[in-house]
Amino acid sequence: MNMIVCCKQVLDPEAPPASFKIDPANNKVVPPPGVPPVISPFDEQAVEAALRIKDNQGGKITVLSLGNNLLRDVVKKPLSMGADELILLEDEAFEGGDSWSTAYALATAIKKIGEFDLIFCGRQAADWDAGQVGSGIAELLGIPSVTVAKKVEAVDGKARVERVIADGYQVIEVTLPALITVSNELGEARYATLKGIMAAAKKQPIIWKPSDIGVDPSQIGAPGRRSKLFKLFQPVREGKCEIIEAETPAEAGTNLATKLREAKII
């Protein structure tokens, strides 16, 4: 079973909300000082989905990340969890893209990798929350996709996927090769083991430049965008919370109920 997982390096979504700042002149988020980036959590769970298949029936997992000046400690994490190989599409030409240019570059790189049975992506990235790259890659490669998976098994040349829907889930069988996007319902991704970290430290990522995958520069990064970012802003929070004070927490609870009655909320 040859598996490919696409992982994105993002600003840590768990950073305190108060540290979130925007540079309005450039429509960019200012990285919070002292908080290192991470692999987008859904992508980590995509790695986990691939590892569970590898645990059961063996296979090779190739991780693909795209960006510029990627931090080795961050992008190597899937290797320390148990992935086999890391390919970085790393060049300034890849910067400033949208779902279109990103999916195009990743799909082209996957064609170069050549052999694959399953491709995994997170359902959406923790920065732009666009939720399109997985489906986009599948469409560009002409393979079927199942999105928002909470469980993935490979049986008899097919994948059996539990896909999350509003009131439960659907069990879907899909022919291989296929692309699956993974949701948090899959469960927590495993921790890297010490052995894994040491093994990952020894592995060198393979670096591919745009010319290595033969992409047209006009189709990747900022020039390849099909959407225009018009404005990025922080929604204004009113922040007028009335704190109910009392001698004891229990009394505050009682007073809260009275307050809600006075305000005709209950």
């Binding site: 899909v174 099909r226 225009k228 018009f230 505050a252 609870g253 009682t254 809260l256 209950i266």
Partner: protein, 332 residues
Amino acid sequence: MAEFKGVMVCGETVEGKLSSITTELLGCGRRLADELKEGLLCILIGNQLGEIPQKAIASGADKVYTADDPLLKEYQTDSYIAVMEKVIKDVSPQILLLGQTAIGRDLAPRLAFRLGVSLSMDCLELNIDPDTKLLQQTRPVYGGNARAIFTAESFPQMITVRQKAMSPLEPDESRKGEIVPIKVDLDPAKIRTKVIETVKEEIAGIKLEDAEVIVTGGRGIGSAEGFKQLEELAKILKGAVGASRPPCDNGWVPDTIQVGLTGKIVTPELYIAVAISGASQHLAGCSSSKNIIAINRDAEANIFKEARFGVVGDWKQVLPAFTEEVKKLLAG
């Protein structure tokens, strides 16, 4: 751009009815179509659609295209996308609206890539730029920490809209419109997925999306046992219980009651957040609630920025007294 005309809504049906997101999309689509002085179109895909197309007209559509076929009974990416590709190429709308639902978030991106156009998912606001006549597409980004306005110059301008972000029109059964059945040649051999089973994990009591009162617990609740106390309060208030992500991930409660960016989006009259810090991705699912009440030990917790009333204290001491008093007030 002259050849792209009209606003199209990709409708969904649920249990033989027009789904609520579809009426919301039609309400929003009507406004956009009127501003552009163009028609509002709707496409309905399914099997045995019956009276549903008429309901779409009552909810604002001028023209409803129907693809009615046994092969379309259940949503499958390959079959629905084949229908949508044909309809969009035949009709050439300038705007295409879909719901941010299990179907919309699967169908929309693949369709956008097939058509070669841009797409904005999970939009909260849509406005026509008075100068360019292009659609300004506002959506949450960075887990709800920020919002971004996008535009696109590829047509149709494709959008998925968050549930409950738009208002439906009052249905008018006397509205007139046209229903146009479309023929699609579907090749079952080209459908590469198969639905083996649909498993409903319905929660007893009121559905989260329909509840007027929601009592939600976070990581600080600490256990499945803890959630029993929230259930008690929810029962007294005739509401439903929700959770932020950690209780779901820890298996204290089912995944289906998760409120947040990737869970349910709720807009109740009263949202009681217990031991919830207020991560942006959670607030993305509840911030449109009418009244948010927060109980949290940490006075600096982000949830207090969203709340109307709050108590700073340990929920284990606050909640029983609160529940007791609520019970008394409602009985009296």
